[in-house]
Amino acid sequence: MILDGKVPGGPLAQKWEKHRFDLKLVNPANKRKYKIIVVGTGLAGGSASASLAELGYEVKTFCIQDSPRRAHSIAAQGGINAAKNYPNDGDSIWRLFYDTIKGGDFRAREANVYRLAQVSNNIIDQCVAQGIPFARDYGGLLLNRSFGGAQVSRTFYARGQTGQQLLLGAYSALMRQVGMGRVTMYPRREMLDIVTINQKARGIVVRNIINGKIERHEADAVVLCTGGYGNVFFLSTNAMACNVSATYRCYKKGAFFANPCFTQIHPTCIPVHGDFQSKLTLMSESLRNDGRVWVPKDPKDKRPPTDIPESDRDYYLERKYPSFGNLVPRDVASRNSKVVCDEGKGVGETGLAVYLDFSDAIKRDGRETIEKKYGNLFAMYEKITADNPYETPMMIYPATHYTMGGLWVDYNLMSTIDGLFVLGEANFSDHGANRLGASALMQGLADGYFIIPYTIGGYLASSSFEKIDTAHPAFENSEMTARKQLDKLLSINGRRTVDDFHRDLGHIMWDYCGMSRNDDGLQKAQGMIQELRVEFWDNVLVPGKNEDFNQSLEKAGRVADFLEFAELMIIDALQRRESCGCHFNEAFQTEENEAKRDDKNYRHVAAWEFAGVDKSPVFHKEPLDFENVELSQRSYK
């Protein structure tokens, strides 16, 4: 099936405005008659919940943490892009659009990305009005920095805590609506299933994490904002509770999953140091503005970094990419770290690390300036590693960070299930095969503040809804299926813990479906995942009972989904007979070892339809038409 992205006609710059006019409106007095469920309270879910409630809809919002303020958007450090052009350095909506689509290696939908660039400026206005304490110049105006390979300074930031501040802004708007009684908040709930009635999303089934109670909630539309699936790699920069379950269970109910193999490995993370490790910590990409990446030229050189003279260092990014240097996009920087480490030049105890050195920047700008820019990051680094980055170079290595793939959505952000909208990292829409720095915050807030309030109105106004309640058999079925799985997990009583299985899965994915992939490895991984999945359902040990605060049971459900989803990632990676962005298949590379796209055959979105757990999913594609940009080989030389 060829998927229709429902992109409106007309010139690129006018599509969104025209579409907003074409969308039907819900009469202000009728809005309160519609119930909307929002799952997740990160930037996308928080901003969507608040904005929809402000319009007058009856909103029910769910989150997995104890408070909506804790969603993992909070950990984003670097900043948020917008095409304000305040620094007068040549930025424009068109340039932000072009950089984003090119950065994504031409695997995103033009119209979506252009709209994202258009609304980027409104986001900054909105956030300032909410009181986000962005960095400011002495004159009181907003400051910008250059970020993640952009050649203009378009990134707004609040120290190294931009995600936190933006999320607290959305959270405070949401709390305001909760206080006014327009949003009902359900924290500590995990979504177990989407309920569809007459081919429309009409509700969800959730588990109350505190007491294990299964709850049913009905609505006229469901907005899924449940983030990405980076934890399929076990170790990632994601928070511990990040999971694929909400999106995966929608996939099992008929929502197509798009480009699952597009996963971003971020170049600047604190290296892995032991088997007991539970997560990886990102060091903001903004560090590459002032830090220089290097390894010793000689693999045998084991001197401490400060004893290695300039002449014996290889600043490999500056050497290979003279115009972008240390600021090449994430996928390029990550792959190059892997290459030098594979050559034996890696540093640290494991040999899987490279240096990120601030000594030149400190010499040039003074310690105080560097402290002002990166103080909290340096302190965090020292806490974790016990090394002082003002005196000795940081050690960094790539780690899984973001997932560009997600549920397929059309221009209205609606999935292949009517009435199921997907926002933020949970959808696939805007970043193509590689996300640029400071674009995730922009997309989450664009979707929540400025897109869903329009498109959901269009859907509600042009659909008819039969009256239903939660006694409907569809709810009954969903609850039964969920209960059966929980009971099964508790009854196996095997010999291996949930984390043990998760860690194994992570190793398989990192080794064979990580920064660099090949057909043999992918095929091998597929078999290994299948075996691990069989063993899981035979030998997992989940203590306790369902009617309790049972964190092992929560994890078990998530890992069960990861074990199925991982195979979908492999299938997707095998399907794509090209390299693009973060998907690097060794068989498809240029002479300079860069990703080699096949625009003739693979200029499409791969969207998968569930066909059964041990059956091959059905492949669908959405061809990507580029009417406004010329497809070029990315070059950061």
């Binding site: 993992h72 909070i74 304490p133 305001r176 511990m240 007991f276």
Partner: protein
Amino acid sequence: MTKTINITLKVWRQNGPQVKGRLETYHADNISTDMSFLEMLDVVNEQLTLSHREPIAFDHDCREGICGMCGAVVNGRPHGHQKGTTICQLHMRQFNDGDTIVVEPWRARAFPIIKDLAVDRSALDKIIQAGGYISANTGAAQDANNITVAQNIAEKAMDAAACIGCGACVAACPNASAMLFSGAKISHLALLPQGKPEAARRVTHMLRAMDELGFGNCSNERECEAECPKEISIVNIARMNREFIKAGFSSSVE
């Protein structure tokens, strides 16, 4: 340098808000000093699980000190003894071989225990609901640079806004007061021009909510400031008090 240590843990175990709790003793052997405190608890939990005993319930999420979900009292101090650090960023190199470590949940009337080390902090959300926001509906904003904020003011607002809402200040306070938490939010918004129109209403409503939710009052112990993982200053409490007095004398807010 990485090494391994053996420690004895005394951990608070409690099955629910209404049941009696007790300290239980566990031995954690061969713990790498590179582990975080929570990774050490993970190891203990794996062992408990394999020996068919219930693992210790504790809240955590980002494990990089920003989400505010984690928190436990370690040897009598919220988030442990290392200054400016959440428990997820407290590393085992801060402890010695042979140490006995006592781990307890936050204790405050406003934070009922859910299980073991996990407590219900929804009262903090309720304080924010009472007024910890600027009323700015989506779409109504003017151009961001039409509002200028002096750099030093923006920095002070950011210092206050860095609060992660973990509740350590409440756990540290002998009165279980949420003054530092509330003061930080009130300061962040009152310092900025955007927050001024609602300042009187905000401080009045938030403080009333704090009282109603069962938090105590401030008696200048400064324990909150000493234990705050983000090192939020009690200057913010002073500023909140000024805002409160200002609201009482010169506004019509009830």
